[in-house]
Symmetry: C2
Subunit: 251 residues, 2 copies
């Protein structure tokens, strides 16, 4: 790609949108400049552009995103076949096993939820399509990393800040790589309270008709009612049945 085939004003604007996050719903011009590394004058122009288009509100001091910004993500969710195809299967699966079921894909070092059917909430975090979790300590993340060429998985782990969310979180890259190899061999991953105490989950890869892994499916359950050792015997077959049923439908 040539230098001139890149619209840096657009790229800068996207950076500005992403500056808004979890802990920062309202940002001043300087806040955004600092968060993005852009010049204050440039950040201001991007923010005023967002406001002009009603993607953001401006009270003269702080900018805040408006729900209109959801159109952007929705363009993906409604345009991409996978979420639509998977959703009814997750609904059925979730009802059958009386636990939450989800599907996700990999985006860099993170897992991105693309569909979800939730039963009564057991997690403190509220997951929905678009939500992200670090791949290294999520069951679907393990499955998706395990599906990559070993070198690629290793590279992603190197890029990740391996933080211990609970005392059980595995954070040693070497042990994680071993775990990925085991996951690939056995065809599923079980997470025992590595992301949140009290929460277990199990995931399997979802292949398309040509055998390429295109997503992961999981079931999450409270550790109190389903100990980690029982996850596989209870949920592996239902998950695999869904993956088998979906396989011929995925291009």
């Amino acid at each position: 790609m040539r230098e001139t085939d890149f619209v840096s004003g657009f790229a800068r604007g996207l950076k500005v949108i992403e500056a808004f996050g979890e802990t920062t719903p309202k940002l001043s011009i300087s806040d955004v400049a600092k968060a993005t590394g852009l010049d204050r004058a440039t950040a201001r122009r991007c923010l005023l552009t967002l406001a002009e288009l009603s993607y953001a509100d401006y009270d003269g001091k702080f900018f805040a995103l408006t729900p209109r910004i959801l159109r952007l993500g929705h363009a993906y969710l409604s345009a991409t076949p996978l979420p639509h195809i998977v959703q009814p299967f997750l609904d059925k699966l979730s009802e059958e096993v009386q636990q939450s079921a989800s599907a996700s894909v990999l985006d860099g070092t993170e897992v991105v939820y693309i569909a979800r059917a939730s039963q009564k909430r057991v997690m403190s975090i509220n997951l929905m399509p678009g939500s992200r979790l670090p791949a290294y300590c999520a069951s679907m993340g393990r499955v998706l990393l395990a599906a990559l060429p070993e070198e690629e998985a290793r590279a992603l782990l190197r890029q990740t800040v391996l933080k211990a969310f609970t005392p059980r979180t595995k954070t040693d890259p070497a042990r994680l790589m071993e775990e990925l190899i085991r996951v690939r061999a056995q065809g599923f991953a079980v997470i025992d309270q590595e992301l949140e105490l009290g929460l277990c989950s199990i995931a399997v890869p979802l292949e398309n008709d040509r055998g390429r892994v295109v997503a992961a499916l999981n079931i999450g359950a409270p550790a109190a009612s389903v100990p980690a050792e029982q996850m596989a015997e209870r949920y592996l077959e239902p998950l695999r049945a869904v993956a088998r049923a979906l396989k011929p439908m995925l291009r």
Copy 2:
């Protein structure tokens, strides 16, 4: 705002993202140029920029958005307090009444879902945060339109294509305005299969601590099990209880 405080490259890029939709998951350069009204060269530069930043894939012919684009909408969902505050209340409400419960806000002529707790699916459309419905024929839309100054509501209806989704859909602007006045007076709206046959819903406004309507809450139920006449007697009180409980928590 001065002319030079607007980054048109950014605005054009956002238009390109929104060109991807329901029926158009993969678009060529010309497709996007046609859909957005941009010059082909410009559309191409925006698309290549998206691809360079991994917001889109490019196979040499077609562009498709990647899940990375969900970061943009997620910036809003995670940064805005309302969805987080409302979600656990919807969960409880949904379990209590054994029906789906949702919250939404108005964006132009459309209702945008910002949180949702779903029971077994009754709608053919799959709703999630970010999903949009036309305001004029959705229960939350009626409530949100009714909360606007009459002239503003009338203006939005004028901008809307009033399509009949079912034989029961109300599409006459004058009758809709009457309906909005009734909704405002009674403090709730009931929709009887106007959006989809077999689906009824009821919505109430959600006010903040200063009495401004900041969102709408609703419950949807299959018409077969809950006829429209029963929606209010069954669900109005539970909905209002949630709205009352939330009110002091909303700035």
